[in-house]
């Protein structure tokens, strides 16, 4: 293999600056999408679990639509199609004056996609506890709505922390699709460095290491959340 190594490329300017800026954009996109995903996911998941036919059906439609269309396609729909189909004034603002359009669009697209997956986890979590706990809660005189609000949802949410961790990791990885609409996140910057210096191995290795680190931190964070929520019940598995 004919290759000259030069790890110092990563520490020279402007490349170091590119990497840092890229990592920053990745973190911003990941954090923004995750917050949106959690908000949307819990709401939709709750609506899906409630025993009211219309809300449950509407929530199901949301989940199936947003989870079966590839996230990149969704991103293109938000970036290229959405501004054209809304009233002209809003469309023009989006295309002209909206701040950080690449980042915002990426956050919206990934957030809604991940939100549908979070909704599924919420629904699955409620389903597993509903069988035993709903009759018990109703038997104490709670109305169905109270039973869901006070008993089922809080307990279900504690049980789905582990699957949610894997959804968080997926969301972080998804942030890379922003590069197709010009978001200069970490993957894009590492590719940029490869283009400029031909030292692709070093730059991609660096990006890989950063993604691994972000993943480890995210997993650790969710682990702490798990411990705080479930206290002594969160034993070693």
């Amino acid at each position: 293999m004919n290759y000259t190594w030069d790890w110092s490329v990563l520490t020279q300017s402007p490349y170091l600056g590119w990497l840092l800026s890229g990592a920053g954009q990745t973190l911003a996109a990941s954090a923004g999408s995750w917050i949106l995903a959690m908000a949307v996911g819990f709401l939709i998941g709750a609506l899906r679990s409630l025993p009211y036919r219309w809300t449950s059906a509407a929530a199901s439609v949301y989940v199936e639509v947003f989870r079966n269309i590839p996230p990149l396609v969704q991103l293109f729909l938000w970036f290229f199609v959405f501004p054209e189909i809304v009233p002209a004034s809003l469309g023009d603002w989006i295309k002209g004056q909206m701040p950080m359009p690449e980042l915002t669009t990426t956050i919206v697209a990934i957030g809604l996609f991940a939100g549908s997956r979070v909704a599924e986890q919420v629904r699955a979590g409620v389903d597993t506890v509903r069988v035993r706990l709903l009759p018990a809660a109703l038997a104490t005189g709670l109305t169905p709505l109270q039973a869901y609000r006070l008993v089922l949802f809080p307990i279900a949410l504690r049980r789905i922390v582990a699957p949610l961790t894997s959804e968080l990791l997926i969301t972080i990885k998804m942030s890379s699709i922003g590069l197709t609409i010009g978001l200069m996140e970490l993957t894009a910057q590492s590719r940029q460095i490869e283009n400029y210096t031909f030292h692709g191995f070093e730059s991609y290795a660096c990006a890989t290491a950063v993604y691994l680190s972000i993943g480890l931190i995210a997993t650790g964070f969710m682990h702490i959340v798990n411990r705080r929520l479930t206290g002594s019940l969160a034993g070693n598995r």
């Binding site: 293999m1 996230p71 396609v73 969704q74 729909l77 890379s176 993604y211």
Partner: protein
């Protein structure tokens, strides 16, 4: 709105879909074969091998697919000493990428078979390989089918990412059409509906196979 543009470019779009299908096919078949080998390595008694394979699987699963596509697009020509097209590097990427996920599915399926089954088989004198082949694997496979189908859906969605190496799959072909026509609304909506229909259809199969596995 002018929906006829889709009909006008139907061949281009169809070719793109064929490329997507090829990527899914190779990713599934190649991925399952390599994934099975990786799973055996991880479950084997050879600790170093299991550790190395485990490391590979962990890294691949923690990193965006786009980055892995760039990795292989860059690395393969260097390793083989020849220039390789986007198709070859994309195929290689998908096989090795999916292999990591299939490895975990196979491992989870095998580990999910209750330990008592292996003990009972061993108690009647069956060897390790016999126990795996006759008792554990048949039970593991039933549980794995819904997970494998689910992974197929994810793979199909992931093929759209070859856009970044300019490989003309279904989505990239659609982009070309938009470039020629400036009709993003019709084309992208069409693309979304097609993906939605296919993925939703397969997800219904997943539901059915889950019920079958519980029987």
């Amino acid at each position: 709105m002018d929906w006829s543009v889709i009909w006008k470019y139907r061949e281009l779009l169809a070719h793109g879909m064929v490329v997507s299908a090829m990527l899914v096919g190779a990713g599934m078949i190649g991925g399952m074969i390599v994934g099975a080998l990786l799973a055996l390595a991880r479950l084997s008694r050879f600790r170093t091998l299991a550790f190395v394979v485990g490391g590979y699987v962990t890294v691949i699963r923690s990193v965006p697919l786009i980055l892995v596509l760039f990795w292989f697009y860059f690395m393969l020509p260097l390793i083989t000493g020849q220039p390789l097209g986007a198709m070859t590097s994309a195929l290689t990427t998908f096989v090795l990428f999916e292999a990591a996920f299939y490895c975990e599915i196979f491992r989870a399926g095998i580990l999910a078979v209750p330990q008592g089954q292996s003990l009972a088989a061993a108690a009647t004198g069956l060897g390790n390989w016999q126990t795996l082949r006759l008792v554990v694997l048949p039970q593991a496979v039933a549980a794995m089918v819904p997970l494998l189908l689910n992974q197929a859906i994810i793979l199909f969605q992931d093929t759209s990412l070859v856009y970044v190496v300019a490989l003309r799959d279904f989505l990239t072909a659609a982009n070309v059409v938009v470039g020629l026509n400036e009709r993003p609304i019709e084309v992208y909506t069409f693309v979304a509906v097609v993906y939605l229909a296919i993925c939703y259809g397969v997800s219904l199969l997943v539901g059915r196979s889950k019920k079958a596995a519980l029987r």
